[in-house]
Amino acid sequence: MRTAGSSAKPEGENTMRLKLHYLSSVAALALSFCCLAAPAQAARIRVVTTLTDLADFTREVGGDLVEVRSLATGVEDTHGVPMKPSFVPLLNRADLVVLVGLDCEHAFLPALLEASKNPRIQKGKPGYVDCSQGIVPRDVPKSTDHYQGDVHAQGNPHYTLDPVLAKTAVKNIYDALVAVDPGHKDAYTRNRAAYLARLDAKIAQWKNEARVLKGVKFVSYHEHWPYFAARFGMNYFGTIELKPGIDPTPRHIEQLTRDMIDQHVAVVVREPQFPEKVPKLIARQTGARLVTLPIMPGALPHTETYIKMMDYIVQSLVAASQGK
C-alpha cells in the first residue's frame, strides 16, 4: 500500500533489490556455514609424527586440541618405517610433522614429504618440527665414509631413550604447537607442565631403581642405547651389528663373544625388530642375560606410552642385571 509522499520504485530497481536480497541471503548462509565449519576445522591441529614416542608427547602436550597420527606403529625399526602411499594423504593435510631428526628418518621421511606436496611441513618451514633442536648429539662420526656403515652424519639419533633428553623433545613440540596455535598457549602450557611433572617424578624413580645398573656392561643389536647408558651409568660394551645397518659377520660374532666373556658383559639387549637368533646365540655362549627391549612405545605389550615403555626398560634391565 502506498502512502502519501511515497514514490513508486521502478520495476528494474525492485528486481535489483530482490537479487541483492537473494545474494545477501546466500552470502549470509555461506558465511554462517563457514563460521560453523571453521571452528571445527581450526579446533584440532593435525599432527603427524614419525615415531610413536613423539606421538605420545604430542598427545600429552596437545590434549584434545590436536589430532595425532604416527607413521610408525611402534614395532618397526626407527630407520625402516615402510614408505606407504597411505601416509601421503595424512602428510598432505598435516599442520605439523614431528620428527626425531639427526637423520633418524632419512630412509623414509624425505621422500614422503616430497610426495605429500604440503609446503607447510617441508624442511625449514614452521610445520617441520625437528625434536633434536637443543640436543647435543653423541657419537658424531669423524668421517661419513660408508666404511663406518650407515652412519648418521649428525650423530646418534636415539636420544629419546634418555628420559631427561626426551624433555627437550617435549619442549620442541610445545613450542611448535604454541607457534601454530597461539590462542591455546595456556592449555598447552598447563598440559606440558603436568606431563613434565609426571615425567620428572618417574625420572627420579627410574634413577633410583637403576642404581644397580651402574657399571653394568651390555651389548645391543643396534646402536640404540648410548644416551640411555650415559643417563643411568651403564657401560655400553658394543653392538651385534658389525656397523650400523650392516649385519654381523661370523668373525665379528666370534670376537664379540670372546670379548664379552673376558670383560664379564652381563646383558644382551635385543630390539624386537631384529631377529632373535644371533642375540640368543651370543647370550648362550657368554652366559649373559638376553632381554628384549622396545625402542618405541607400542613395540611390546604394556609399552603403549613413553612412561610405560621406560618403566618396562628399566625394570627389565634391572631384572636382567640381577640374573632374574
Binding site: S86, P89, P275
Partner: protein
C-alpha cells in the same frame, strides 16, 4: 689505645671504691688482662683492615703455601679458559672460510657391471650383446641433486655406458630436470629430460629393477627406460585415499626411441602424450596392493610423411612397407606386497604384474611401385609377472615370467623365464645371480637360448631413498 686503657682504669676506680684493697687489686689485675686482650684483638682487627685495604689477605705461613697452590690452580684454569677461547675463535673463524664446494649438490655414483654367458650368438638372440662369455660395464651413473631455490629442486643423471660393439665409453645425459616444490593445489610440475611416469617399472633405472634385464615388453614397447624431453604434471588428488594422477607431453618417449622427425614445422599432434593413474589399498597393516593404469599416445608419428627418425617402418614378407602413422600404448599394473611391519627389512614378498597393449597404426605402401596400399593396425600384447621373496636382510630370491608379441608383427611371440638370487652385503653393494631362458617362436626367426648373468651394483657418495623406488 692508651686512652682506652686509662678510661678503663678510671672507670674501674670509680666503681670499685667501696671494695676492699686486696679484692680491688685482684679485680684490677683481671681488668688489666681483659683490657690487654681487647687491645690485642683490636690491633689484630686493625691489621686485618689495613691488609684488606691493601688487597693482601692475611695468611699464616701454612696458609700461604696452600694459597700458592690455589693460585697455581687458578692460573692453570685461566690458561685453560684462554685456550678454550682460542679454540672457539678458531672454530668460529673456520666457519667463515670460503669453501668453493659449499653450494655443491649432493653427488653420488652408481656402477653396474654384468658378467654373462649366453648359449647363442646375437644373430640368433637378437641381442646387442654377443653370445658366449661377456663382461661389460652396463652403466656408471652420476647423480647430482639440490634445491634450485625455495620453489624448485633440480637433478641431473649422467650415464656412461660401454658401446656394445666397440666397447668404448659413451656418455649421455639420462636425466636433467627441475621439479617444483611449492605449487598450490597438490600439484607438481617437472620439466626437462626425465623418465616419464608410465607403468610400474618404465621409469625405474636399470640398476634398481628387480631382475637383471628390463622386461622384454618394456624394452620393446617403450624402448628401455621411459626417457623423454618434456613436461609432466602430477596431481595428488585431495581425498583421504591415496590417488595420484600424472599427465605429460614430450618429444620422444623411451630410451631407444629417437624423437619423431620434427621436420620443418611440427604441430601438437607430433608430440607424445602420456598419463598415469595409480592408487594404493591396505588390506592389513602388512599386506597391500597398488593398482595403476597408464596410457601413451602419439597422434601422428609420421607427421612429416617420412619414416625417418622415430616412426618405425618395416617391410613384410609380402609386397607392402608398413609406415607407422600413430602410436598408442596402454598399460595396467598391479603390485601385491606382504611387508611385515616388525621386520620389513628382513622379510617381504612382492608380486608385481604389468600388462601392456600396443596398438600401432600403419600406412601401407606398395614396396615396388611406392603407391599407397591402405592402412593396417597391429595390436600386440606384452606382460611380465614376478615374485620376489626377501628372507634375510642380505638375501632375496625371485622368479619372473615374461611374454611379448612383436609390436610390428603380432605373430612374433617370445616367452622368457628367469630365476635369481640377490645378495646385498649392504645398501651400497649388491650381487645378483640370474638364469634366464628365452624362448621365441618360429615366426620370430630367432632361437631359444640359456643365459646366466652375474650383476654387481655399487653406490658411492650420496644416495637418496626415492619415492618411486619404494
Amino acid at each position: 689505645m692508651k686512652l682506652i686503657l686509662c678510661m678503663g682504669i678510671a672507670l674501674l676506680c670509680c666503681t670499685a671504691a667501696p671494695a676492699r684493697a686486696e679484692d680491688l687489686a685482684e679485680r684490677l689485675n683481671r681488668l688489666e688482662q681483659a683490657v690487654e686482650r681487647q687491645s690485642h684483638i683490636i690491633e689484630e682487627q686493625q691489621k686485618t683492615i689495613e691488609q684488606l685495604k691493601a688487597g693482601q689477605p692475611r695468611r699464616d705461613a701454612g696458609e700461604h703455601a696452600a694459597s700458592g697452590g690455589e693460585a697455581a690452580k687458578g692460573e692453570e684454569l685461566k690458561q685453560q679458559v684462554d685456550e678454550l677461547n682460542d679454540k672457539v675463535e678458531q672454530v668460529v673463524e673456520a666457519q667463515k672460510k670460503e669453501l668453493p664446494s659449499a653450494f655443491n649438490p649432493a653427488i653420488g655414483f652408481v656402477g653396474e657391471t654384468i658378467f654373462g654367458y649366453r648359449s647363442k650368438g646375437k644373430a640368433e638372440t637378437g641381442s646387442d650383446r654377443p653370445g658366449g662369455f661377456d663382461v661389460f660395464q652396463r652403466s656408471v651413473e652420476m647423480t647430482a641433486a639440490a634445491s634450485i631455490d625455495p620453489f624448485a629442486k633440480g637433478y641431473v643423471v649422467v650415464n656412461g655406458s660401454a658401446d656394445p660393439v666397440t666397447g668404448e665409453l659413451a656418455l649421455g645425459v639420462e636425466e636433467a630436470a627441475l621439479q617444483t616444490t611449492s605449487l598450490p593445489g597438490n600439484l607438481e610440475l617437472k620439466g626437462g629430460r626425465f623418465f616419464g611416469e608410465f607403468g610400474k617399472l618404465g621409469y625405474i633405472h636399470d640398476h634398481e629393477l628387480p631382475f637383471v634385464n628390463r622386461p622384454l615388453a618394456l624394452a620393446q614397447y617403450i624402448g628401455g627406460e621411459a626417457r623423454t624431453d618434456g613436461l609432466q604434471l602430477n596431481w595428488l588428488v585431495p581425498v583421504e585415499h591415496y590417488v595420484s594422477l600424472t599427465v605429460g607431453a614430450g618429444n620422444q618417449f623411451g630410451g631407444d626411441n629417437p624423437p619423431n622427425d620434427v621436420g620443418d614445422f611440427r604441430h601438437a599432434s607430433g608430440v607424445n602424450y602420456w598419463s598415469r593413474l595409480s592408487s594404493y589399498f591396505e588390506l592389513t597393516p602388512d599386506v597391500s596392493f597398488e593398482p595403476g593404469i597408464s596410457g601413451l599416445w602419439n597422434p601422428k608419428t609420421n607427421v612429416q610423411g617420412s619414416t625417418v627418425g622415430g616412426a618405425q617402418s618395416f617391410t613384410t614378407s609380402g609386397s607392402n612397407t608398413f609406415n607407422e602413422r600413430e602410436r598408442r600404448l596402454y598399460g595396467a599394473d598391479l603390485v601385491l606386497s606382504y611387508k611385515p611391519l616388525r621386520n620389513n627389512q628382513f622379510e617381504s614378498v612382492v608380486w608385481g604384474n604389468e600388462v601392456l597393449y600396443s596398438d600401432n597404426r600403419y600406412d601401407l605402401t606398395d614396396t615396388l611401385s611406392g603407391t599407397p596400399a591402405g592402412s593396417s593396425t597391429v595390436g600386440s600384447i606384452g606382460l611380465y609377472s614376478y615374485l620376489t621373496w626377501k628372507f634375510h636382510r642380505q638375501w632375496s630370491t625371485g622368479l619372473q615370467y615374461e611374454f611379448v608379441e612383436n609390436q610390428l608383427n603380432k605373430h612374433d611371440k617370445t616367452n622368457a623365464y628367469s630365476a635369481n638370487v640377490t645378495w646385498a652385503l649392504s645398501h651400497w653393494n649388491q650381487f645378483r645371480l640370474q638364469y634366464t631362458y628365452t624362448d621365441p617362436n618360429a615366426a620370430s626367426g630367432r632361437s631359444a637360448d640359456n643365459a646366466v648373468y652375474l650383476q654387481w651394483n655399487w653406490i658411492i657418495g650420496s644416495h637418496a631413498h626415492g619415492w618411486q623406488q619404494r
